[in-house]
Assembly symmetry: C2
Homo-oligomer: 366 residues x 2
């Protein structure tokens, strides 16, 4: 049984995941980071200010300063902070864990992170942090026999969550299938307690693939937004061809990336890939970010503008990190990932958007 969980991060997705969990009778401690204090104070009345939905009574709210209280007696965590905040929050979390217990981590955070000067997947950063902590603990109790050590040196395992799950839709209890990628029986055993009639969970044995997809769908969904920005005003209702084409090209490139970076192609073809890209391109924050840029906003300024309004354009950050990260896997970005490199040139090199997209499309047929 799962009686209690802690959700770290009180934004859109952190708020939304409380719906199926608390509908199932699980007590949910919703902890906000130092950036979420307003969201927590807003939610205390029982109404999430971003989702604009009433929260269940078995959801409790914790300010950033009350992490210890939020995690007390909890062994199951959903982490829904931004990718930029992820390493810091995870360090804070493990610093406060009692390592005599086994924990299950479910990661809703998407994206690549910078950790100790390297660009890695968020779950890789988490593993380093976790192991470093174990090592420190081990150091502190030198001499204790392996058997008597207070921590359990069990393998680190973090479930990566993906799939076509837009927070607002989930909070509206619209039928949704999420993908949980894990290699751990302990994690899969808990899944049955999270599902409801409207929140179904599809199990994947490819956590890396799920995580890579969730990073790149944020990047590629900027493309749909760019089209909305450049064509929306003058061609309303008649520029679906290019949106569909770029969507398809995104899928083709995601397949290559997932395979090259150690995930499975099937993961990108299934709900964590195509499905999540679809929902994000149709209605996500990264699409919105693209639209701002397509409408003429400076790429860096558009990102800041959204952040000031509490909307986080993950794709902007992930795009920058993705180029050096992909370098490791021997992909020729210019040739094999022409849409990704086009997006990079638009966002970080300020190439003219229409010209850059037209150049790409000229190459896609002849």
């Amino acid at each position: 049984m799962v009686n209690k969980v802690c959700v770290l991060g009180a934004g859109y997705m952190g708020g939304a995941i409380t719906f199926p969990l608390s509908d199932n009778g699980i007590g949910v401690n919703l902890w906000g980071t130092w950036l979420d204090d307003d969201l927590i104070s807003g939610s205390i009345g029982g109404f999430h200010p971003r989702l604009k939905k009433p929260l269940n009574k078995n959801v409790k709210f914790f300010y950033s300063s009350c992490l210890k209280d939020a995690i007390s007696g909890v062994d199951t965590f959903f982490i829904a902070v931004t990718s930029e905040g992820f390493p810091g929050v995870f360090e804070l979390l493990v610093d406060n864990l009692d390592f005599s217990k086994n924990y299950c981590f479910f990661k809703l955070t998407k994206g690549l992170v910078k950790y100790q000067g390297k660009i890695v997947r968020a779950s890789e950063a988490a593993e380093s942090i976790y192991k470093k902590h174990l090592k420190n603990l081990s150091g502190n109790i030198k001499g204790a026999s392996e058997k008597n050590r207070i921590y359990k040196p069990a393998g680190f395992a973090m479930t990566s969550i993906g799939g076509p799950v837009r927070a607002v839709d989930l909070a509206s209890r619209i039928p949704t299938v999420s993908v949980y990628g894990s290699n751990t029986k302990a994690a899969f055993d808990k899944i049955k307690y999270f599902t409801t009639d409207y929140y179904r969970i599809h199990r994947s044995s490819d956590p890396a693939g799920v995580e890579i997809c969730s990073t790149f769908k944020n990047i590629y969904s900027i493309a749909a937004g760019l089209c909305d920005g450049i064509y929306g005003r003058n061609f309303k209702g008649s520029y679906y061809n290019i949106i569909a084409l770029l969507f398809n090209q995104s899928v083709l490139e995601m397949l290559k990336i997932v395979e090259a970076a150690g995930g499975k192609k099937e993961t990108a073809i299934s709900f964590a890939g195509i499905g999540d890209l679809h929902v994000t391109s149709a209605a996500g924050r990264n699409r919105k970010y693209g639209e701002l840029v397509g409408s003429g906003d400076d790429p860096a300024e558009a990102y800041c503008k959204m952040q000031r309004e509490g909307e986080y354009g993950e794709g902007y950050v992930a795009l920058k990190l993705s180029i050096p990260w992909l370098d490791k896997f021997g992909l020729d970005i210019e040739k094999e990932l022409p849409l990704l490199s086009t997006l990079y040139r638009i966002i970080y090199k300020k190439n003219d958007i229409k010209k850059a997209l037209n150049r790409l499309i000229l190459k896609m047929g002849n």
Copy 2:
């Protein structure tokens, strides 16, 4: 060089393909079927009444009764009639051809057709018609030596056109990539005369795969419309999760269908599959058909209603034909194509839409 082509069918797609062709300086004879006479009379002023766009001056218009004039001196045909009209129009065309020449057929018509009591792909029906005609010719000139026969018994070849090409968008000259599936050098040699900066052509050596995709994307795009119908009113802006999920499931099922029916999986993953499904689900007539049904219209009545307004819901017809057609390929429709069978039960067995979709989604995760 291609100086002149004849486009058969003056509806949306027949009208739209005249844009890149005539922009390239090709003279286009636009012939309307007996159902298109109003469209032809409307277009004669130079403005296509469906597309609501001005047509180029080098497009000429031909009523259904003037087929001979329309095809005079032409060896390149674009066929853009409905799937229901296809066999009849193709018979009429070959009856009027002079078989001392070589012809290239480019087929924009999607879908399965009924021909001589069998359900076959449109290009298979065309091949039977063509070969029957050759045989008749051969019969008429019995005794003529093989060498002196007036017809050329060259292999029949029809290019299947697919890809994310919505007619209105193409007529707005929005950047578009179309897929031409063929195994014939003669067809590929002509392609370069059709392309423009905004109309790019991607060559595929899998005409069957392109044709199968173009059939099934029409069927599956009904799903997005059903969701618009059942959720649009009460959940405006918050039911993207289920749309994306069903889109992804459609892709997974199209992959299975294309492979089982003799096409290549890659075709379904590329522009003829995912891309075309995307544009049709977002804004095609089959999506609109689904929305009518999702809003409570009787499935058969909704089809007729659209037809009265000159809009042809191909997917409705293709769905019915697809079930017996798929039977041939040893797929277990209930188990392997659960969305297709759900759509069939909704449209042809009047199952409750919400319940049927929920039942499907319950099975997609656990």
